[in-house]
């Protein structure tokens, strides 16, 4: 493994190691067996367990969506009753939001990649990390019980007083989501601590990968906003169980107060879902353009700005709810401010591609699909932020299309970009580029077919959550339904080639994309403890103008860095060359 090559840097000698290609021992074949997996504290395995759960929930949520779209083929009843339809759209929303989108990038990809990008062996609190996975599972079990014992038909927003009066097992469902929130909080705490305390020597804040900045911003929101959701659900429970009037007007409560509580969490939650996607896109675009990222600080700071302003815009979900006009004005104003850092990011990504060396591999294709669809999501968000227009568009299919463009067109595409980008690192296998691109294009076509007509329907006045609709919308609905089937086919193909890759894929090299980022300097799949030695970081993760050899893992002396007497405080002695 060692081609010992001494590279002179400013002050210290760094001895570099080429990563072992096609390692015989790695995290997947050490400590095997069910029990070892269930009790593992390895962040990579926990990440994969999250990934498997997410895939399951995405499948369930996606099938529910297809069932809904099928029902909407005809204006009246097609094959299910209104009550069943209402339960299914509630489940689709709740599962996709709470069980897929919120944990998707942070808990699955984030868990896997965070310590590898920081140059540490694991997250700061490995056991807490495992606990948060089990809390997620327990939350999921409660939700499953709720579904099997009566179902829930409140919509994923659980608006009072409807949720207080309807039948079904609303309590169990909210309890499940309450529990789930703790998983989110613990992951956030873990990530913040890890990013602060466990960065490898030399990894200063200005060499932190942008994916880490994004996860850092996300974790702050998770830690600060999720408790509000817990409080809200607890108040809801107190009201239903103890009949204390908080939200239900029959008991002297105020239903609009519930909406404030709910959106105080759920709007920042939208950023919990999308900001990690921004991180993935930064990594992918820089790697496949083989070029230094444009405006590193602009992208890093805009993530934090989005996280911060994102806390102050919740009221834009309530422009028609009867809050004061002054509040409406302030919330509208702040909503536009949050659009600016988002726009800055898009310009920076496009500028990174300028004069790059662009390799249109699958992750890059997904990143570009992300850019296109996320822009549509963003622009329609500006539309919804404009007060007079929102009065017309609120609670119509326009809103449905808008958030699907942001969440699926944006977030899910970013997730897929990340999944395809890190897949070789996770499993040490390559997938078929041909099939992967093919399915990406199928998903792209299907997605736009599904949701573009919904903008038109919404503008024309088609309200959301409608089981029946008037005849004039039928052709739009049918077009949309056909689009959703095409998305389904795209994901089916993806499932096929990823499964094939997992079992029979060609072995992946340690760094198949020629990336300068730290996680690509270890073998694929990585060793059980990530790094044989604590790595020394000298260059930034996007310094593509420097030769590849300078990015190989190194230790800061001839000897193994663990030996006493050889201690070198690298972060203070190494001058940044960049």
């Amino acid at each position: 493994m060692a081609t010992s090559e001494a590279k002179p840097t400013n002050k210290i000698q760094v001895r570099r190691y080429k990563p072992e290609e096609y390692p015989e021992k790695h995290y997947l074949n050490e400590e095997t067996g069910i029990w070892a997996w269930m009790t593992t504290v390895d962040h990579k395995k926990i990440g994969l367990m999250y990934l498997a759960s997410l895939a399951f929930f995405f499948f369930v949520g996606g099938m529910l969506a297809l069932v809904l779209r099928t029902e909407l083929l005809t204006p009246a009843r097609s094959f299910m009753d209104a009550d069943v339809y209402n339960q299914i759209f509630t489940l689709h929303g709740a599962i996709m939001v709470f069980f897929f989108l919120v944990p998707s990038v942070p808990a699955a990809l984030g868990n896997f990649i965070l310590p590898l990008q920081l140059g540490c062996k694991d997250v700061a609190f490995p056991r807490v990390n495992l606990a948060s996975f089990y809390i997620y599972v327990i939350g999921a079990v409660f939700t499953l019980i709720a579904i099997l014992t009566g179902g829930v038909d409140t919509g994923w927003t659980f608006y009072t007083p409807y949720s207080a009066t309807t039948g079904g097992n609303v309590m169990m469902m909210t309890l499940g989501i309450f529990i789930l929130g703790f998983s989110s909080i613990l992951t956030g705490v873990n990530f913040i601590t890890t990013i602060h305390k466990l960065r490898a020597p030399g990894m200063t804040w200005n060499k932190l990968p942008l994916n880490m900045w994004a996860l850092y911003a996300t974790s702050i929101i998770q830690v600060l906003a999720t408790p509000v959701l817990a409080i809200t659900l607890l108040l809801l429970t107190m009201e239903r169980v103890l009949s204390i009037g908080i939200f239900d007007p029959a008991l002297g409560g105020d239903p609009v107060l519930y909406q404030h509580f709910f959106w105080f969490y759920s709007h920042p939650a939208v950023y919990i879902m999308i900001v990690p996607g921004f991180g993935v896109i930064s990594e992918v675009i820089s790697t496949f353009s083989r070029k230094i990222i444009f405006g590193y600080w602009a992208i890093a700071i805009s993530s934090l700005a989005i996280a911060f302003i994102g806390f102050l815009v919740w009221g834009h979900h309530m422009f028609t709810a009867g809050q004061s006009s002054l509040a409406n004005m302030v919330f509208s104003f702040l909503t536009f401010l949050v659009g600016i850092p988002t726009g800055i990011k898009i310009f920076n990504w496009v500028a990174t591609m300028y004069r790059g060396s662009i390799d249109m591999k699958t992750p890059m294709l997904y990143a570009q699909i992300f850019l296109f669809q996320f822009m549509i999501g963003g622009f329609t968000g500006i539309m919804l932020g404009a007060l007079a227009v929102d009065i017309h568009l609120h609670d119509t299919y326009y809103v449905v299309a808008h958030f699907h463009y942001v969440m699926m067109g944006g977030m899910v595409m970013a997730f897929l970009a990340g999944l395809h980008y890190w897949w070789p690192k996770m499993f040490g296998k390559m997938y078929s580029e041909k099939w992967a691109k093919f399915s990406a294009i199928i998903i792209f076509i299907g997605f736009n077919m599904t949701f573009l007509p919904q903008f038109v329907m919404g503008s024309q006045g088609m309200p959301r959550r409608y089981f029946n609709y008037i005849d004039q919308f039928q052709s739009f609905h049918q077009f949309s339904t056909i689009g959703s089937y095409i998305i389904g086919i795209g994901f089916f193909i993806m499932f096929g080639y990823l499964l094939y890759s997992f079992f029979r894929g060609e072995k992946a090299a340690a760094n198949p994309w020629g990336s300068r980022a730290l996680e690509w300097q270890v073998s694929s799949p990585p060793p059980l403890h990530n790094f044989e030695h604590t790595p020394v970081i000298i260059n930034g993760p996007y310094d593509y103008h420097k030769p590849m050899s300078e990015f190989q893992l190194g230790i800061a002396s001839k000897h193994n860095g663990h030996h006493a007497g050889e201690k070198v405080d690298i972060s203070t002695t190494v001058k940044d060359k960049a």
Partner: protein, 313 residues
């Protein structure tokens, strides 16, 4: 532009719709320019700077302050224009003219009641004068609903614990659809109504004669009309189909088991009680969701409905 507008938006039938539509088009056009421009840049860069060999060397362009300030400030100016425009339009939407004609709106799951100054109540049919501001004072009897008329570009939530209001001025006589836009349960998507805008004279005539036309009608015929007018048929079919409530077909005179096990014969008193206090006794297998019609239907009208039910065997 007009064809695009006709495709995207419903016809604009209120005085405030124009501002909303203008802003809608402004945002669409501006966004489209950005979207097309940036997309072309992405595609062009991907082609022009495609990887030619693994040895490609890329320039170090880490940032450019002038460029970055430009692309932050221009969008900022644009969104501030949109904000100001949207806010001005919104102020017009919430500033109710003093001379507005007032109608009281009560939302119940799942119907709309409109109470006029004469005391007349219409269900799922709102009659208003055109070319005159109309103010709706709204409240809900149960959960949150939302009053939405796409043709007028107005929407307002209807809450159970307070009054909300909304106004519009219809520009010409005609009909428009009303939706409930806030999810309210099983028959949410059937909670529709129609606004009829009349000329002032027609409206006055309508208001004078409203309700009195029923006087010389045959009870069965009147009952049939009342069942439609009061949206009974949203939940009770007349052809045996099971909806949210029991079907009216074959209901009269039959024996029904209640939730508490009691057996009830459907007679005059049971029907009357079910209309005025619907949740007193619930047929087994159904939810207690029907709103009360006390104050909406008078005794004569209840008699007519009973006569009508008798014919549905």
């Amino acid at each position: 532009m007009n064809r695009f507008s006709d495709f995207m938006l419903p016809p604009a039938k209120s005085t405030t719709a124009e501002t909303t539509d203008a802003l809608f088009h402004f945002i669409n056009v501006t966004s489209l320019i950005f979207l097309v421009g940036i997309t072309i840049a992405i595609i062009f860069f991907s082609w022009k700077y495609r990887r030619r060999s693994d040895e490609d060397v890329t320039p170090v362009i880490s940032h450019n302050n002038k460029l970055e300030i430009t692309w932050s400030v221009i969008p900022l100016i644009l969104v501030m224009i949109v904000f100001g425009w949207g806010f001005t339009g919104y102020m017009n939407l919430i500033t109710i003219p003093d001379d507005a004609y007032e109608v009281r709106v009560v939302a119940k799951s799942w119907l709309w009641e409109f109470h006029y100054e004469t005391g007349f109540v219409s269900v799922n049919e709102l009659h208003v004068p055109a070319n005159r501001p109309v103010k709706l004072v709204m409240s809900s009897d149960d959960v949150i609903h939302s009053f939405f008329v796409p043709d007028y570009r107005v929407k307002m939530d209807v809450l159970p614990n307070r009054y909300t209001s909304l106004w519009f001025e219809v520009t010409e006589p005609g009909e428009s659809i009303v939706y409930c836009a806030e999810y309210c349960g099983t028959a949410h998507s059937n909670m529709l109504a129609t606004v009829f805008a009349h000329t002032q004279e027609d409206f006055d005539t309508w208001l004078e004669t409203a309700g009195s036309a029923d006087d010389d009608m045959d009870p069965v015929e009147l009952g049939e009309q009342l069942v439609t007018r009061n949206a009974c048929d949203t939940c009770h079919s007349t052809d045996g189909t099971r909806l949210q409530g029991p079907t009216f077909q074959g209901l009269w005179g039959s024996e029904r088991e209640m939730e508490d096990g009691e057996i009830v014969v459907v007679d005059e008193n049971y029907v009357r009680e079910s209309i005025l206090e619907p949740n007193a006794r619930i047929t087994k297998g159904y939810q207690p969701v029907m709103p009360s019609y006390a104050g909406t239907l008078n005794d004569r009208q209840i008699d007519a409905i009973i006569e009508y039910l008798k014919t549905l065997q």
